[in-house]
Protein backbone atom coordinates (compact mmCIF):
# COMPACT_ATOMS: atom_id res chain seq x y z
CA UNK A 1 0.00 0.00 0.00
CA UNK A 2 1.24 3.46 -0.77
CA UNK A 3 0.36 6.99 -1.55
CA UNK A 4 0.99 8.01 -5.15
CA UNK A 5 1.48 11.25 -7.07
CA UNK A 6 -1.13 11.83 -9.78
CA UNK A 7 -1.10 13.95 -12.92
CA UNK A 8 -2.14 17.01 -10.93
CA UNK A 9 1.56 17.45 -10.05
CA UNK A 10 2.55 17.81 -13.72
CA UNK A 11 4.02 21.22 -14.63
CA UNK A 12 3.71 22.34 -10.97
CA UNK A 13 6.15 20.21 -8.90
CA UNK A 14 5.72 22.29 -5.74
CA UNK A 15 7.77 19.80 -3.65
CA UNK A 16 6.17 20.87 -0.31
CA UNK A 17 5.48 17.14 0.21
CA UNK A 18 9.17 16.33 0.20
CA UNK A 19 9.88 18.28 3.39
CA UNK A 20 7.55 16.20 5.52
CA UNK A 21 8.08 12.69 4.12
CA UNK A 22 9.69 10.71 6.95
CA UNK A 23 11.24 8.10 4.66
CA UNK A 24 12.40 10.25 1.71
CA UNK A 25 10.43 8.22 -0.80
CA UNK A 26 9.83 11.00 -3.37
CA UNK A 27 11.60 10.96 -6.75
CA UNK A 28 11.93 14.00 -8.99
CA UNK A 29 11.37 13.99 -12.76
CA UNK A 30 11.49 16.89 -15.23
CA UNK A 31 7.80 17.75 -14.92
CA UNK A 32 6.57 16.07 -11.73
CA UNK A 33 7.38 14.01 -8.66
CA UNK A 34 6.48 10.39 -8.00
CA UNK A 35 6.47 8.26 -4.85
CA UNK A 36 8.45 5.04 -4.63
CA UNK A 37 5.55 2.82 -3.54
CA UNK A 38 7.78 0.15 -2.04
CA UNK A 39 9.28 2.69 0.35
CA UNK A 40 6.16 4.70 1.26
CA UNK A 41 4.97 3.80 4.77
CA UNK A 42 1.40 5.03 4.26
CA UNK A 43 1.55 7.78 6.86
CA UNK A 44 -0.16 10.29 4.56
CA UNK A 45 1.42 13.43 6.00
CA UNK A 46 2.34 14.59 2.49
CA UNK A 47 -1.27 14.70 1.31
CA UNK A 48 -2.47 17.97 2.87
CA UNK A 49 0.87 19.64 2.08
CA UNK A 50 0.33 19.55 -1.70
CA UNK A 51 -1.05 22.83 -3.08
CA UNK A 52 -2.22 21.00 -6.23
CA UNK A 53 -3.95 18.15 -4.31
CA UNK A 54 -1.93 15.73 -6.41
CA UNK A 55 -1.32 12.98 -3.84
CA UNK A 56 -3.82 10.17 -3.43
CA UNK A 57 -3.85 6.79 -1.78
CA UNK A 58 -3.58 3.71 -3.98
CA UNK A 59 -6.73 2.27 -2.43
CA UNK A 60 -8.55 5.24 -3.88
CA UNK A 61 -9.54 4.67 -7.54
CA UNK A 62 -8.14 8.10 -8.39
CA UNK A 63 -4.80 6.96 -6.99
CA UNK A 64 -4.66 3.31 -7.98
CA UNK A 65 -4.61 4.26 -11.67
CA UNK A 66 -1.24 5.93 -11.01
CA UNK A 67 0.39 3.19 -8.93
CA UNK A 68 2.29 1.42 -11.71
CA UNK A 69 3.26 4.76 -13.16
CA UNK A 70 4.79 5.83 -9.82
CA UNK A 71 6.61 2.51 -9.43
CA UNK A 72 8.00 2.74 -12.97
CA UNK A 73 9.37 6.28 -12.77
CA UNK A 74 10.54 5.86 -9.15
CA UNK A 75 13.00 3.31 -10.48
CA UNK A 76 14.36 5.85 -13.00
CA UNK A 77 14.30 9.27 -11.38
CA UNK A 78 16.61 10.56 -8.62
CA UNK A 79 15.59 10.88 -5.01
CA UNK A 80 14.59 14.30 -3.68
CA UNK A 81 14.62 15.13 0.04
CA UNK A 82 14.72 18.95 0.13
CA UNK A 83 11.97 21.32 -0.99
CA UNK A 84 12.84 23.21 -4.17
CA UNK A 85 11.25 26.12 -6.06
CA UNK A 86 8.15 25.05 -8.00
CA UNK A 87 8.27 24.94 -11.81
CA UNK A 88 7.99 28.45 -13.35
CA UNK A 89 4.32 28.28 -14.40
CA UNK A 90 3.15 26.21 -11.45
CA UNK A 91 0.37 28.55 -10.35
CA UNK A 92 -1.01 28.73 -13.89
CA UNK A 93 -1.24 24.93 -14.11
CA UNK A 94 -2.30 24.24 -10.52
CA UNK A 95 -5.94 23.55 -11.15
CA UNK A 96 -5.75 22.25 -14.70
CA UNK A 97 -7.20 18.86 -15.56
CA UNK A 98 -5.80 16.36 -18.07
CA UNK A 99 -2.22 17.60 -17.98
CA UNK A 100 -0.59 14.28 -18.79
CA UNK A 101 -0.88 14.23 -22.61
CA UNK A 102 0.18 17.86 -23.00
CA UNK A 103 2.68 18.58 -20.26
CA UNK A 104 4.30 15.37 -18.99
CA UNK A 105 8.00 14.98 -19.72
CA UNK A 106 10.09 11.89 -19.03
Amino acid sequence: MAYVVTDRCIACRYTDCVAVCPVDCFRSGPSMLVIAPDECIDCGVCVPECPAKAIRHDSDPAGSAWLDFNARYAARWPSISQTEAPLPDAEEHRQEEGKYPRLFRE
Binding site: M1, V20, D24, G44, P48, D60, P61
Partner: protein, 474 residues
Protein backbone atom coordinates in the same frame (compact mmCIF):
# COMPACT_ATOMS: atom_id res chain seq x y z
CA UNK B 1 5.00 -28.08 7.66
CA UNK B 2 4.20 -31.59 8.92
CA UNK B 3 2.74 -34.53 7.04
CA UNK B 4 -0.54 -34.16 5.27
CA UNK B 5 -2.57 -37.34 5.34
CA UNK B 6 -5.83 -35.76 4.29
CA UNK B 7 -7.33 -37.22 1.18
CA UNK B 8 -9.98 -34.58 0.74
CA UNK B 9 -9.06 -32.20 -2.03
CA UNK B 10 -9.62 -28.64 -0.94
CA UNK B 11 -8.31 -25.26 -1.96
CA UNK B 12 -5.38 -23.86 -0.04
CA UNK B 13 -6.39 -21.43 2.68
CA UNK B 14 -7.14 -18.14 1.00
CA UNK B 15 -7.02 -19.71 -2.44
CA UNK B 16 -10.70 -19.28 -3.15
CA UNK B 17 -11.78 -16.45 -5.40
CA UNK B 18 -12.73 -13.27 -3.66
CA UNK B 19 -16.39 -13.02 -2.79
CA UNK B 20 -16.36 -9.72 -0.98
CA UNK B 21 -13.29 -7.84 -2.05
CA UNK B 22 -13.70 -5.97 -5.28
CA UNK B 23 -10.65 -3.73 -5.05
CA UNK B 24 -12.70 -0.58 -4.98
CA UNK B 25 -15.03 1.14 -2.58
CA UNK B 26 -17.80 -1.28 -1.78
CA UNK B 27 -20.33 0.66 0.26
CA UNK B 28 -23.69 -0.76 1.19
CA UNK B 29 -26.54 1.34 -0.02
CA UNK B 30 -28.67 0.85 3.06
CA UNK B 31 -31.91 2.77 3.42
CA UNK B 32 -33.19 3.51 6.88
CA UNK B 33 -36.52 1.65 7.23
CA UNK B 34 -38.52 4.09 9.30
CA UNK B 35 -38.59 5.64 12.75
CA UNK B 36 -39.17 3.83 16.03
CA UNK B 37 -40.17 5.88 19.07
CA UNK B 38 -38.32 4.61 22.13
CA UNK B 39 -40.30 5.03 25.33
CA UNK B 40 -38.87 7.41 27.91
CA UNK B 41 -37.69 5.51 30.97
CA UNK B 42 -35.87 5.90 34.27
CA UNK B 43 -32.40 4.35 34.40
CA UNK B 44 -30.20 3.61 37.43
CA UNK B 45 -27.49 6.05 38.47
CA UNK B 46 -24.57 3.63 38.61
CA UNK B 47 -22.41 6.04 40.58
CA UNK B 48 -21.31 9.64 41.14
CA UNK B 49 -17.67 10.47 40.46
CA UNK B 50 -15.43 13.51 40.22
CA UNK B 51 -13.75 12.75 36.90
CA UNK B 52 -15.33 10.45 34.31
CA UNK B 53 -13.07 9.35 31.47
CA UNK B 54 -14.89 7.77 28.52
CA UNK B 55 -12.58 5.63 26.37
CA UNK B 56 -9.51 3.75 27.62
CA UNK B 57 -7.18 4.18 24.65
CA UNK B 58 -3.81 5.91 25.05
CA UNK B 59 -5.41 9.29 25.84
CA UNK B 60 -8.02 7.94 28.27
CA UNK B 61 -5.55 5.69 30.06
CA UNK B 62 -3.12 8.59 30.54
CA UNK B 63 -5.94 10.92 31.61
CA UNK B 64 -7.25 8.48 34.22
CA UNK B 65 -3.79 7.81 35.66
CA UNK B 66 -2.92 11.53 35.80
CA UNK B 67 -6.18 12.53 37.50
CA UNK B 68 -6.00 9.59 39.90
CA UNK B 69 -2.44 10.42 40.90
CA UNK B 70 -3.58 13.97 41.68
CA UNK B 71 -6.07 12.57 44.16
CA UNK B 72 -9.27 12.88 42.14
CA UNK B 73 -11.93 10.21 42.31
CA UNK B 74 -11.79 8.84 38.76
CA UNK B 75 -13.99 6.44 36.79
CA UNK B 76 -12.78 5.06 33.45
CA UNK B 77 -15.25 3.48 31.04
CA UNK B 78 -13.89 1.28 28.24
CA UNK B 79 -15.85 -0.70 25.68
CA UNK B 80 -13.27 -3.44 24.99
CA UNK B 81 -11.72 -5.90 27.45
CA UNK B 82 -8.40 -4.06 27.60
CA UNK B 83 -6.78 -0.64 27.83
CA UNK B 84 -4.45 0.92 25.28
CA UNK B 85 -6.88 1.32 22.38
CA UNK B 86 -5.16 1.44 19.04
CA UNK B 87 -1.72 0.98 20.66
CA UNK B 88 -2.77 -2.49 21.84
CA UNK B 89 -6.10 -3.63 20.38
CA UNK B 90 -5.45 -1.78 17.12
CA UNK B 91 -1.94 -3.25 16.81
CA UNK B 92 -0.39 0.18 16.25
CA UNK B 93 2.57 -1.37 18.05
CA UNK B 94 4.98 0.89 16.30
CA UNK B 95 4.86 3.87 18.63
CA UNK B 96 5.68 7.06 16.76
CA UNK B 97 8.49 9.39 17.78
CA UNK B 98 8.81 10.38 21.43
CA UNK B 99 12.03 12.34 20.67
CA UNK B 100 12.62 15.44 18.56
CA UNK B 101 15.19 15.77 15.79
CA UNK B 102 17.92 16.64 18.28
CA UNK B 103 17.20 13.49 20.28
CA UNK B 104 15.50 15.28 23.18
CA UNK B 105 12.81 13.14 24.78
CA UNK B 106 9.93 15.61 24.46
CA UNK B 107 6.93 13.35 25.04
CA UNK B 108 7.36 12.18 28.61
CA UNK B 109 4.95 12.09 31.54
CA UNK B 110 2.44 9.24 31.68
CA UNK B 111 3.37 8.03 28.17
CA UNK B 112 6.96 7.59 29.23
CA UNK B 113 5.80 5.87 32.44
CA UNK B 114 3.78 3.37 30.39
CA UNK B 115 6.70 2.56 28.08
CA UNK B 116 9.15 2.37 31.00
CA UNK B 117 6.89 -0.11 32.76
CA UNK B 118 7.29 -2.69 29.98
CA UNK B 119 9.66 -5.52 30.91
CA UNK B 120 12.76 -6.50 28.99
CA UNK B 121 11.60 -8.18 25.83
CA UNK B 122 8.35 -6.18 25.94
CA UNK B 123 9.60 -3.53 23.58
CA UNK B 124 12.29 -3.01 20.94
CA UNK B 125 13.86 0.25 19.86
CA UNK B 126 17.04 2.29 19.57
CA UNK B 127 19.07 2.79 22.79
CA UNK B 128 18.96 6.30 24.30
CA UNK B 129 22.63 6.81 23.43
CA UNK B 130 21.60 6.89 19.75
CA UNK B 131 18.58 9.24 19.96
CA UNK B 132 19.27 12.17 17.65
CA UNK B 133 22.23 10.41 16.02
CA UNK B 134 22.81 11.18 12.34
CA UNK B 135 25.35 8.41 11.98
CA UNK B 136 24.62 6.94 8.55
CA UNK B 137 25.10 3.33 9.58
CA UNK B 138 22.95 3.66 12.71
CA UNK B 139 20.25 5.52 10.76
CA UNK B 140 20.21 2.85 8.05
CA UNK B 141 19.95 0.05 10.62
CA UNK B 142 17.17 1.72 12.62
CA UNK B 143 15.48 3.01 9.45
CA UNK B 144 14.72 -0.62 8.55
CA UNK B 145 13.28 -1.01 12.06
CA UNK B 146 10.92 2.01 11.97
CA UNK B 147 13.09 4.01 14.37
CA UNK B 148 15.05 6.39 12.11
CA UNK B 149 13.54 9.04 9.84
CA UNK B 150 15.15 11.78 7.77
CA UNK B 151 18.47 10.13 8.61
CA UNK B 152 18.00 10.66 12.36
CA UNK B 153 17.67 7.87 14.94
CA UNK B 154 14.63 8.42 17.17
CA UNK B 155 12.92 6.88 20.19
CA UNK B 156 10.00 5.17 18.50
CA UNK B 157 9.90 1.68 19.91
CA UNK B 158 7.73 -1.27 18.97
CA UNK B 159 5.80 -2.76 21.87
CA UNK B 160 4.31 -6.06 22.96
CA UNK B 161 0.58 -5.25 23.12
CA UNK B 162 -0.13 -7.79 25.86
CA UNK B 163 2.43 -6.28 28.19
CA UNK B 164 1.09 -2.80 27.43
CA UNK B 165 -2.44 -3.96 28.25
CA UNK B 166 -1.32 -5.46 31.56
CA UNK B 167 0.89 -2.55 32.60
CA UNK B 168 -1.91 -0.10 31.71
CA UNK B 169 -4.28 -2.03 34.00
CA UNK B 170 -1.67 -2.00 36.76
CA UNK B 171 -0.95 1.73 36.51
CA UNK B 172 -4.66 2.57 36.39
CA UNK B 173 -5.32 0.38 39.43
CA UNK B 174 -2.39 1.89 41.35
CA UNK B 175 -3.87 5.34 40.66
CA UNK B 176 -7.07 4.10 42.37
CA UNK B 177 -9.17 4.54 39.24
CA UNK B 178 -12.57 2.80 39.25
CA UNK B 179 -12.30 0.90 35.95
CA UNK B 180 -15.31 -0.41 34.02
CA UNK B 181 -14.47 -2.68 31.09
CA UNK B 182 -17.09 -4.01 28.66
CA UNK B 183 -18.93 -0.70 29.09
CA UNK B 184 -19.76 1.56 26.16
CA UNK B 185 -20.02 5.28 26.90
CA UNK B 186 -23.15 5.96 24.88
CA UNK B 187 -24.22 9.55 25.46
CA UNK B 188 -23.39 12.63 27.50
CA UNK B 189 -25.79 13.96 30.12
CA UNK B 190 -26.12 17.66 29.35
CA UNK B 191 -27.93 20.37 31.29
CA UNK B 192 -27.92 23.98 30.12
CA UNK B 193 -24.79 23.60 28.03
CA UNK B 194 -22.84 21.80 30.75
CA UNK B 195 -21.96 18.11 30.69
CA UNK B 196 -22.97 16.49 33.98
CA UNK B 197 -21.99 12.91 33.30
CA UNK B 198 -22.59 10.18 30.76
CA UNK B 199 -24.82 7.23 30.06
CA UNK B 200 -23.17 3.92 29.38
CA UNK B 201 -24.47 0.63 28.02
CA UNK B 202 -23.35 -2.78 29.20
CA UNK B 203 -24.69 -6.27 29.79
CA UNK B 204 -26.48 -4.70 32.78
CA UNK B 205 -28.34 -2.35 30.49
CA UNK B 206 -28.29 1.42 30.29
CA UNK B 207 -27.05 3.35 33.33
CA UNK B 208 -25.92 6.86 34.23
CA UNK B 209 -22.74 8.11 35.84
CA UNK B 210 -22.80 11.66 37.23
CA UNK B 211 -19.50 13.51 37.17
CA UNK B 212 -18.02 16.94 37.87
CA UNK B 213 -15.86 16.75 34.75
CA UNK B 214 -16.15 14.37 31.79
CA UNK B 215 -13.18 13.67 29.51
CA UNK B 216 -14.07 12.49 26.01
CA UNK B 217 -11.32 10.11 24.91
CA UNK B 218 -13.48 8.11 22.53
CA UNK B 219 -11.25 9.09 19.60
CA UNK B 220 -14.21 10.07 17.48
CA UNK B 221 -15.68 12.81 19.65
CA UNK B 222 -18.66 10.58 20.37
CA UNK B 223 -19.52 12.58 23.49
CA UNK B 224 -18.64 16.10 22.46
CA UNK B 225 -20.56 15.75 19.21
CA UNK B 226 -23.70 14.67 21.07
CA UNK B 227 -23.18 17.36 23.71
CA UNK B 228 -23.48 20.00 21.01
CA UNK B 229 -19.82 21.05 20.92
CA UNK B 230 -18.67 22.42 17.59
CA UNK B 231 -16.32 20.19 15.62
CA UNK B 232 -14.56 19.86 12.28
CA UNK B 233 -14.91 16.92 9.98
CA UNK B 234 -12.82 16.66 6.85
CA UNK B 235 -14.17 13.41 5.57
CA UNK B 236 -13.83 13.85 1.85
CA UNK B 237 -11.97 12.10 -0.88
CA UNK B 238 -9.11 14.58 -0.90
CA UNK B 239 -8.39 14.04 2.75
CA UNK B 240 -5.79 11.71 4.21
CA UNK B 241 -7.94 10.79 7.13
CA UNK B 242 -10.57 8.75 5.39
CA UNK B 243 -8.80 5.43 5.27
CA UNK B 244 -9.51 2.58 7.66
CA UNK B 245 -7.84 -0.77 8.19
CA UNK B 246 -7.44 -3.78 10.40
CA UNK B 247 -3.79 -4.47 11.25
CA UNK B 248 -2.54 -7.99 11.77
CA UNK B 249 0.41 -10.03 13.01
CA UNK B 250 2.00 -13.03 11.29
CA UNK B 251 3.88 -15.32 13.67
CA UNK B 252 6.55 -17.88 12.80
CA UNK B 253 8.45 -15.46 10.59
CA UNK B 254 12.08 -14.35 10.47
CA UNK B 255 12.07 -10.57 10.15
CA UNK B 256 15.87 -10.40 10.02
CA UNK B 257 15.79 -12.62 6.93
CA UNK B 258 13.13 -10.29 5.47
CA UNK B 259 15.24 -7.18 6.19
CA UNK B 260 18.30 -8.85 4.65
CA UNK B 261 16.25 -9.51 1.53
CA UNK B 262 15.02 -5.91 1.37
CA UNK B 263 18.40 -4.31 1.87
CA UNK B 264 20.66 -6.70 -0.04
CA UNK B 265 18.49 -7.60 -3.00
CA UNK B 266 16.68 -4.41 -4.03
CA UNK B 267 15.86 -5.68 -7.52
CA UNK B 268 14.32 -8.91 -6.27
CA UNK B 269 12.47 -6.91 -3.64
CA UNK B 270 11.04 -4.57 -6.30
CA UNK B 271 10.00 -7.59 -8.33
CA UNK B 272 8.37 -9.19 -5.27
CA UNK B 273 6.39 -6.03 -4.57
CA UNK B 274 5.30 -5.75 -8.20
CA UNK B 275 4.11 -9.37 -8.25
CA UNK B 276 2.28 -8.82 -4.98
CA UNK B 277 0.43 -5.80 -6.35
CA UNK B 278 -0.47 -7.73 -9.50
CA UNK B 279 -1.67 -10.73 -7.47
CA UNK B 280 -3.99 -8.90 -5.11
CA UNK B 281 -4.25 -5.21 -5.92
CA UNK B 282 -3.97 -4.04 -2.34
CA UNK B 283 -0.57 -5.26 -1.27
CA UNK B 284 1.04 -4.53 2.06
CA UNK B 285 4.48 -5.22 3.42
CA UNK B 286 5.62 -6.10 6.93
CA UNK B 287 7.21 -3.88 9.56
CA UNK B 288 9.26 -5.12 12.45
CA UNK B 289 7.54 -5.89 15.75
CA UNK B 290 8.95 -6.29 19.25
CA UNK B 291 10.08 -9.80 18.29
CA UNK B 292 12.10 -11.17 15.41
CA UNK B 293 9.56 -13.97 14.83
CA UNK B 294 6.52 -11.67 14.59
CA UNK B 295 5.84 -9.49 11.56
CA UNK B 296 3.52 -6.48 11.75
CA UNK B 297 1.27 -5.59 8.83
CA UNK B 298 -0.42 -2.25 9.35
CA UNK B 299 -3.00 -3.58 6.92
CA UNK B 300 -4.31 -2.40 3.60
CA UNK B 301 -5.82 1.03 4.12
CA UNK B 302 -9.31 1.22 2.69
CA UNK B 303 -10.21 4.61 1.31
CA UNK B 304 -13.68 6.00 0.87
CA UNK B 305 -15.21 4.58 4.06
CA UNK B 306 -16.53 6.29 7.17
CA UNK B 307 -15.43 4.92 10.56
CA UNK B 308 -18.69 6.23 12.08
CA UNK B 309 -20.80 4.00 9.79
CA UNK B 310 -21.55 0.53 11.12
CA UNK B 311 -21.97 -0.80 7.59
CA UNK B 312 -18.58 0.59 6.54
CA UNK B 313 -16.91 -0.76 9.68
CA UNK B 314 -18.32 -4.20 8.95
CA UNK B 315 -17.30 -4.13 5.29
CA UNK B 316 -13.73 -3.12 6.13
CA UNK B 317 -13.47 -5.81 8.84
CA UNK B 318 -14.43 -8.46 6.28
CA UNK B 319 -12.29 -7.12 3.44
CA UNK B 320 -9.25 -6.68 5.68
CA UNK B 321 -9.38 -10.29 6.82
CA UNK B 322 -9.80 -11.57 3.30
CA UNK B 323 -6.69 -9.61 2.36
CA UNK B 324 -4.87 -10.91 5.44
CA UNK B 325 -5.48 -14.49 4.38
CA UNK B 326 -4.44 -13.78 0.79
CA UNK B 327 -1.29 -12.05 2.06
CA UNK B 328 -0.46 -15.13 4.15
CA UNK B 329 -0.65 -17.35 1.11
CA UNK B 330 1.49 -15.01 -0.99
CA UNK B 331 4.11 -14.37 1.68
CA UNK B 332 4.43 -18.05 2.61
CA UNK B 333 5.05 -18.87 -1.04
CA UNK B 334 7.28 -15.95 -2.00
CA UNK B 335 8.39 -13.86 1.01
CA UNK B 336 11.88 -14.54 2.39
CA UNK B 337 11.51 -15.28 6.10
CA UNK B 338 7.79 -16.10 5.76
CA UNK B 339 7.78 -19.79 4.77
CA UNK B 340 6.41 -20.91 8.15
CA UNK B 341 4.22 -17.87 8.79
CA UNK B 342 0.84 -18.30 10.46
CA UNK B 343 -2.09 -16.05 11.26
CA UNK B 344 -1.23 -14.86 14.75
CA UNK B 345 -3.74 -12.08 15.37
CA UNK B 346 -5.95 -9.64 13.50
CA UNK B 347 -6.51 -6.36 15.30
CA UNK B 348 -9.29 -6.63 17.89
CA UNK B 349 -9.93 -2.96 17.13
CA UNK B 350 -10.40 -1.30 13.75
CA UNK B 351 -7.76 1.25 12.87
CA UNK B 352 -9.08 4.63 11.86
CA UNK B 353 -7.25 7.89 11.64
CA UNK B 354 -9.90 10.46 11.96
CA UNK B 355 -13.55 11.29 12.03
CA UNK B 356 -14.26 14.43 14.09
CA UNK B 357 -11.97 17.08 15.55
CA UNK B 358 -13.08 19.40 18.32
CA UNK B 359 -13.33 23.12 17.64
CA UNK B 360 -11.42 24.26 20.71
CA UNK B 361 -10.77 27.62 22.32
CA UNK B 362 -7.29 27.15 20.81
CA UNK B 363 -6.02 24.94 17.99
CA UNK B 364 -2.77 23.60 16.60
CA UNK B 365 -2.42 24.88 13.04
CA UNK B 366 -0.03 24.67 10.12
CA UNK B 367 0.82 28.38 10.54
CA UNK B 368 2.38 27.56 13.90
CA UNK B 369 4.83 24.96 12.58
CA UNK B 370 7.65 27.29 11.62
CA UNK B 371 7.56 29.53 14.68
CA UNK B 372 8.82 27.16 17.37
CA UNK B 373 7.39 29.64 19.90
CA UNK B 374 6.24 28.07 23.17
CA UNK B 375 2.61 29.05 23.75
CA UNK B 376 1.66 30.55 27.14
CA UNK B 377 -0.95 27.83 27.60
CA UNK B 378 1.39 24.98 26.62
CA UNK B 379 0.55 21.57 28.08
CA UNK B 380 2.89 19.50 25.93
CA UNK B 381 5.56 19.57 23.26
CA UNK B 382 5.29 17.47 20.12
CA UNK B 383 8.11 16.55 17.79
CA UNK B 384 7.59 18.12 14.37
CA UNK B 385 7.16 16.17 11.15
CA UNK B 386 10.65 16.85 9.86
CA UNK B 387 13.94 18.50 10.90
CA UNK B 388 12.86 21.50 8.80
CA UNK B 389 10.42 22.49 11.57
CA UNK B 390 11.05 23.18 15.26
CA UNK B 391 9.04 21.43 17.97
CA UNK B 392 5.33 22.15 18.20
CA UNK B 393 3.91 23.72 21.36
CA UNK B 394 0.51 22.16 22.16
CA UNK B 395 -1.89 24.53 23.98
CA UNK B 396 -4.42 23.63 26.66
CA UNK B 397 -7.17 25.24 24.60
CA UNK B 398 -7.07 22.47 22.00
CA UNK B 399 -8.68 20.24 24.66
CA UNK B 400 -11.36 22.74 25.69
CA UNK B 401 -14.67 23.03 23.76
CA UNK B 402 -15.59 26.54 22.67
CA UNK B 403 -19.08 26.44 24.05
CA UNK B 404 -19.71 23.42 26.28
CA UNK B 405 -18.71 23.24 29.97
CA UNK B 406 -17.94 20.24 32.16
CA UNK B 407 -16.08 18.61 29.29
CA UNK B 408 -12.55 18.14 27.98
CA UNK B 409 -11.39 16.23 24.89
CA UNK B 410 -8.07 14.42 24.49
CA UNK B 411 -6.57 12.05 21.96
CA UNK B 412 -6.86 12.04 18.21
CA UNK B 413 -9.92 14.32 18.15
CA UNK B 414 -8.28 17.39 19.78
CA UNK B 415 -8.60 20.79 18.09
CA UNK B 416 -6.16 21.14 15.19
CA UNK B 417 -6.16 21.58 11.45
CA UNK B 418 -5.84 18.55 9.18
CA UNK B 419 -2.14 19.23 8.56
CA UNK B 420 -1.33 19.11 12.27
CA UNK B 421 -3.67 16.19 12.82
CA UNK B 422 -1.18 14.05 10.90
CA UNK B 423 1.05 13.97 14.00
CA UNK B 424 -1.36 14.89 16.82
CA UNK B 425 -3.27 11.68 16.08
CA UNK B 426 -0.27 9.47 16.90
CA UNK B 427 0.00 7.40 20.10
CA UNK B 428 2.64 9.56 21.90
CA UNK B 429 0.61 12.71 21.26
CA UNK B 430 -2.54 10.96 22.52
CA UNK B 431 -0.67 10.10 25.74
CA UNK B 432 0.40 13.74 25.97
CA UNK B 433 -3.02 15.34 25.50
CA UNK B 434 -4.62 12.66 27.70
CA UNK B 435 -2.14 13.42 30.46
CA UNK B 436 -2.93 17.13 30.20
CA UNK B 437 -6.70 16.56 30.24
CA UNK B 438 -6.50 14.28 33.28
CA UNK B 439 -4.40 16.73 35.27
CA UNK B 440 -6.64 19.64 34.24
CA UNK B 441 -9.81 17.76 35.21
CA UNK B 442 -8.37 16.92 38.65
CA UNK B 443 -7.44 20.58 39.22
CA UNK B 444 -10.87 21.78 38.04
CA UNK B 445 -12.52 19.47 40.59
CA UNK B 446 -10.12 20.44 43.36
CA UNK B 447 -10.64 24.16 42.81
CA UNK B 448 -14.35 23.94 42.03
CA UNK B 449 -14.01 25.59 38.61
CA UNK B 450 -14.95 24.71 35.06
CA UNK B 451 -12.18 23.10 32.97
CA UNK B 452 -11.88 26.31 30.89
CA UNK B 453 -11.06 28.25 34.07
CA UNK B 454 -8.21 26.03 35.26
CA UNK B 455 -5.20 28.09 36.30
CA UNK B 456 -2.59 27.48 33.59
CA UNK B 457 0.60 27.91 35.67
CA UNK B 458 -0.87 25.54 38.28
CA UNK B 459 -1.67 23.02 35.54
CA UNK B 460 1.82 23.33 34.06
CA UNK B 461 3.34 22.79 37.53
CA UNK B 462 1.18 19.70 38.04
CA UNK B 463 2.20 18.29 34.66
CA UNK B 464 5.89 18.91 35.34
CA UNK B 465 5.54 17.26 38.74
CA UNK B 466 4.17 14.22 36.92
CA UNK B 467 7.18 14.12 34.61
CA UNK B 468 5.82 15.95 31.57
CA UNK B 469 8.25 17.86 29.36
CA UNK B 470 7.32 21.50 28.81
CA UNK B 471 9.31 24.36 27.33
CA UNK B 472 10.98 26.52 29.96
CA UNK B 473 11.08 23.55 32.29
CA UNK B 474 12.67 24.06 35.67
Amino acid sequence: MGSNTETVDRPAAGGTPSVVFKGSVNKKNRKISGVHREAARDIPVFKRTQVLVVGGGPAGTAAAIAAGRLGAEVTLVERYNHLGGLSTGGLVLWIDRMTDWQGTHVIQGIGRDLLSSLPEGGLAGAPSSLWGSRDAEAAAYWGMRTSAFHGVVTWSPTIDPEWMKWRSLQLVTEAKVDLLLHAWGAAPIVEDGTVKGAIFESKQGRMAIYADVVIDTTGDGDLFAQAGAAYDSDINEDDIHHCMNVSWLFGGVDMEAWIDFRTREPERFADFMQKGREAMGFFDRPFVSWRRDVGLFMGPRMAGYDCLSVDDLTTVEIQSRELMVRHLEFYKAHGPGFRDAFLMLSGPQMGSRHSRRLKGVESVTRAQWSTGTPLPTEVGVSPSLSPKFPNISVPYGCLVPQDVDGLLAAGKHVACDMHSHSFLREIPQCWMTGHAAGAAAALAVKNGVQPRAVDIPQLQDALRAQGAYLNGGR
